[in-house]
């Protein structure tokens, strides 16, 4: 019994850490897909870019960890703003198919560029000393860094919730998600709103990629390898909400960890089966509006 309880704690803890990283990376995708109706398969590129920026800052510039993480957020948010203005914005009115093709093209290019600059090996992650080791509470050891990840991601989730529910920008986003034409006609500058939201979402992905570099290794094929998981979080959670991806990411993180812990023979089987089940039950996702 004692053993079972302790394994339960293990699974919950590690599942939470993994789920929170998935959330931070995917929430931006959920918002942009909900807001702009853009099927951005290349979202993982921003997460990867964030990871590379942070690791370059630490490994070759010797930047302190917090600064490197902030740098990843800012650099990718700005970079994605340029990309949005130059390329993405032209495709808002295009069909889903064109968007899929375009973003797959972006992934291909990003993969090649990452390989050209950084080589095929995953980048080494050097955490600062104070992030290493274990913390001891409730009679168990917990890896310090993962405790930090969980707390930090929860803080981000709270901040996002506040931003969307309590600020003027949030109100505009919600209005535009509900009815873009109406929002536009009452004077919301949707073009600017899209750009800002897109760059915020990409910045968050970068943040997730950077913070999660220790869990999901940063290497050139990153955007392809993890795309399925990002998409599952978004689809299971439902488009254009904050709560949806949060719950979905936790669900996936914990379920995936539990499977690996207790029944490693099953692999990712359960995740996909659960995804199919949930989507058949609620095609719009857990918190999405009813499917149309």
């Amino acid at each position: 019994m004692q053993d079972f309880l302790s394994s339960l704690v293990s699974v919950a803890f590690h599942g939470l850490a993994y789920g929170m990283i998935l959330y931070v990376i995917s929430v931006g995708l959920s918002v942009t897909m909900g807001l702009m109706g853009f099927a951005n398969l290349a979202h993982g590129v921003f997460a990867m870019a964030g990871g590379y920026v942070m690791l370059t800052a630490i490994n070759s510039q010797g930047a302190p960890f917090p600064l490197a993480v902030a740098g990843a957020f800012v650099a990718v948010a700005l970079g994605s703003m340029v990309l949005e203005r130059l390329l993405y914005a032209r495709l808002y009115t295009a069909g889903e198919l064109e968007q899929v093709l375009f973003t797959i093209g972006l992934i291909f290019m990003a993969v090649a560029v990452a390989r050209l600059i950084y080589g095929a090996l995953p980048q080494p992650v050097h955490l600062p000393e104070y992030m290493k080791g274990q913390l001891r509470f409730l009679g168990r050891d917990f890896p310090t860094y993962r405790v930090f990840l969980i707390l930090f991601s929860i803080a981000i989730a709270a901040l996002l919730w506040f931003g969307v529910e309590r600020t003027r920008w949030g109100a505009m986003v919600r209005a535009a998600v509900d009815n873009r034409a109406m929002a536009q006609s009452v004077g919301v500058n949707t073009t600017r709103l899209f750009t800002l939201t897109f760059s915020l979402g990409s910045g968050l992905a970068a943040l997730g990629g950077a913070l999660g570099a220790d869990i999901i290794a940063i290497q050139p094929t990153y955007p392809f390898e993890h795309l399925v998981y990002f998409l599952i979080v978004v689809a299971v959670g439902g488009l254009g909400t904050l709560r949806g991806p949060f719950v979905a990411a936790l669900l996936i993180g914990v379920a995936d960890t539990a499977c690996k812990y207790w029944i490693p023979e099953l692999g990712a089987f359960f995740i996909f089966a659960a995804t199919i089940g949930i989507l058949l039950w609620r095609p719009g996702g857990l918190y999405g509006r009813a499917a149309t």
């Binding site: 797959i104 290019m109 090649a112 050209l116 199919i276 095609p283």
Partner: protein, 324 residues
Amino acid sequence: MTHSGGYVADPRFRAIEWLPWLLALLCFFVAPSYLPLGSYVLTMIIFALSLDLVVGYAGIITLGHSAYFGAGAYIAGIFAARVSTEPLTGLAISTVGAGLLGLLTGVVILRTRGLALLMLTLAITSLCLEFANKATGWTGGADGLGGFAIQPILGLFKFDLFGKTAYLYCLVFLFASWWLVRRMVYSPFGASLTGIRENDVRMNAVGAPVYMRLVVSYTISAALAGLAGALLTQTTQYVGLKVLGFELSGELLVMLILGGIGRIYGAFVGPLVYLLAQDYLAKQFPEYWYFGIGMILVLVVMFVRGGILGIVDAGIAKWRGASA
């Protein structure tokens, strides 16, 4: 959606439609050393045709078509490894098997649309992949399934090292698939599919059995994909997990869109250009061919919607306009 293709009232063959077949035969004699690549291209054209039927005509956007391709490939492999290495029986069983899988999954998932449908297709192929990965006793898991030698076709034509038999074998089945797909899309059934793609609500309103039509076309498409998968297994005599990966679905979608969707021949041009470019770029710059492919994709989307055949259409229209 910016489709330009769809139902055409006049089903008669135009002379130009025989050109691909002439060229394919010409290749056989002119470029014998390219036949292994050629067989692969032909297989992918069948696969792309099957995808065109659901994406281009029925408007079902899927990232999971490799589930059926892979199912066909694995059924053919398991059949050859355990039951018989007779190729035609294996091919028939694989086609039917993949079609059944298409029917079963189609009945369930085609009630949804949009993102949910896209994700369901993705999840189904991922599920199949996990299954093949774990059922090592049958599939060999990550090590793949091989060690069988396919018998000569009809006891007469041995699969040779140069890939001559394989090429003609694929060509024959491509011709049959093309015939079938062409007949379908030029029929009233094809017309109703195009109608569903353009506006399913209205099609429902005029009393068309939308859901049934979708299921039927999805099943046929899955069977064709299974045929392509089985051809790949039989011509390479090996099956690996990648046939079930969603990357393959994505790549195929890219090929199809590159060629131009909803017009049958886009499924011919897309895989041909994509795979030849890949063959060439991968040789010149083995490390960075991805960049070239990515660049082409972005440029196509930015400047020439409708794919390569879209460019050609525009070119012809302009030329006619200028000369008129």
